[in-house]
Symmetry: C2
Subunit: 234 residues, 2 copies
DNA sequence: AGCCTTGCATTGTGATCGCAATTGAGCCCC
DNA sequence: GGGGCTCAATTGCGATCACAATGCAAGGCT
C-alpha cells in the first residue's frame, strides 16, 4: 500500500492547466488497478475510502467512483454487513474458476489477433518480451508483472474484440493478487519456461491455432504455479 | 424510459424507517439493470444523470454510482469526448462476441448446477417455467424476459461458482437490449421451442452433460434469432 | 436566405457538509 | 487482573454547491 500512494499521487498531481482530459477518478482507478495487477496490495487487507483519498491528496469522491468501478469488476470486495471494502481473499475455488475462464477467453483473443497481426505488432512484442526477460533476470517482480501484462494485452488488443477484451481485463484484475503469492513462494525464477517466443512466432506466421496453443500453454503453466502456491498456503 | 421511472420510483420510495439495509444506489442500480435486461431502454438513446435522478426523485449522486457500476459492466457506454452516456448500440460484431461468451459460460454453469441440483430446485424451476410459458402465451414481453432471466439464473446460482456467475450476469446485461429487437421483429411467438423442459429433466437426473447441452441449445436458438433480427436491422 | 457566432441551459465532475452506523479503545466494575 | 461497557473517532452514503465544458438555439452578419 505504501507504493500505491506514491504512484497515484504522482499521477494525480500531473494536472495540466488546461485540456486535462483524464478525469481524477480515472487516474485513481488506473493507479489502483495497476497496484492490483502487479499485486502490490495484499489480499484480505481492508482499506478505507477516506484514508485512500487522504493518501492520494484528493477528495473521497473520485476514490468512491474508482472503487465502485473496481468492485463491479470484482477486483475489490465489499463486506455487505460492514460495507467496508477489502481485497478479495484467495481461495482455491476462485482460482479454479478464474483459470478456467482465462483459458477460454485469452487463447480465443490470441487466435483472433493472429489473423490481424502485422510486422509492427511483432516488433512491439519482441521489445516487450525483451523487457520481460530482463525483469526476470533481475528478479524485478513489479517490472515483470507490468511487462507481462503489457505483452499479453498488446496481443489481445489486436483481436479487435472489445467485449472479450474487457472480459480478459477483468479476469487479470482478479488474478493479479494471486500472482504475488507465486513470487512469494517459488520466487521469480519459478517462471522460466517462456512461451512468449512461441506466441510471437505464431503471430508472425499468422497462425491462429498456434497462437491459441501458445497462450493456452503459457496460461496453464502460470495458473498451475499459482495453484500449488495457494494450496501450500492453505 | 417512461416505464423505468415509475418502476424505480416505487422501489426507491420503499424506504423503511429503520434498518433499511439496501442502499439507494443499489435500488437505482437494480432498477436500471432490470430495465436493461428486459430491454425497456432503447439502445443508442442518450440519458443524463440529472434527468434520471429527477425522474427517480433522488439526488444525482446515487444515480452516478449506479451508472458507473453499469458502465463498468459494459451495460452502459460513455462517450469519451462528450462524457455523455448512452446505451451501447447493437452491432453484429458485439452480438457475435456475446453469443460466443454466453455459449461458453452458461452451459458450464448449468453443468455445475446439475451436480448440486435437488428436488426443491427442480420444483422452483418448474414454477418459473410455467410463468415463462404463460408469459409467452399472453405475449407479455416484459414478463417473459423477467421470468426467463429468473429461470436461467435460478440454475446458475446453484453452480456455486460466483466468478462465473458474475460473468454470466454481466453478459446477460449486455445482451438484454438486443432481446427487445427480437420481439420487435419476429414477435413473441418467435420463441416457442422450449428447451427449458429439457434442462429441468437433466437437472432432475443430475446429468451435467445433459444440462450443458440443453442450455447450450436454448442459448443457440435465442442468439440465432437475435442475429437475424440484427442483420435485418442493418 | 444561409451560415456563423454568441448566449443560455444543461451536462458531468469534484469538493464539502451532514447523518447514521459501526468500530475501536479506554475505562470502570466485578 | 480480566471482562463488559461506554464514548469518541471513523466509516460509507447521500445531498448540495460550485465550476468548467459542452450542446443547443436564437439572433446577427454577409
Amino acid at each position: 500500500m505504501a507504493g500505491l500512494g506514491e504512484a497515484v499521487e504522482k499521477m494525480v498531481q500531473t494536472r495540466r492547466p488546461l485540456a486535462d482530459q483524464t478525469a481524477v477518478h480515472d487516474r485513481v482507478y488506473e493507479a489502483i488497478r495497476q497496484a492490483l495487477i502487479t499485486g502490490r496490495i495484499a489480499p484480505g487487507k481492508g482499506v478505507s475510502l477516506r484514508s485512500l483519498a487522504a493518501e492520494l491528496g484528493v477528495s473521497p469522491m473520485p476514490v468512491r467512483d474508482a472503487v465502485r468501478r473496481l468492485v463491479a469488476e470484482r477486483a475489490l470486495a465489499i463486506n455487505p454487513a460492514n460495507k467496508r471494502l477489502s481485497v478479495p481473499s484467495l481461495t482455491a475455488d476462485r482460482l479454479e474458476q478464474l483459470s478456467l475462464a482465462r483459458l477460454w477467453v485469452e487463447p480465443e483473443l490470441a487466435a483472433r489477433a493472429a489473423a490481424n497481426a502485422d510486422a509492427s505488432l511483432v516488433r512491439q512484442l519482441r521489445a516487450i518480451d525483451a523487457d520481460v526477460d530482463e525483469a526476470l533476470r533481475l528478479g524485478d517482480v513489479d517490472r515483470y508483472m507490468t511487462a507481462n501484462h503489457a505483452f499479453h494485452f498488446a496481443i489481445y488488443e489486436r483481436a479487435g474484440a472489445d467485449v472479450l477484451l474487457s472480459m480478459a481485463g477483468g479476469l487479470w484484475l482478479q488474478v493479479g493478487p494471486f500472482m504475488r503469492v507465486v513470487f512469494g513462494r517459488v520466487g521469480a525464477d519459478g517462471l522460466v519456461a517462456d512461451r512468449h517466443a512461441e506466441a510471437i512466432e505464431a503471430l508472425e506466421t499468422r497462425d491462429p491455432e498456434g497462437a491459441r496453443r501458445a497462450v493456452a500453454a503459457d496460461l496453464s503453466e502460470g495458473m498451475d504455479k499459482m495453484r500449488v502456491a495457494v494450496d501450500a498456503a492453505s
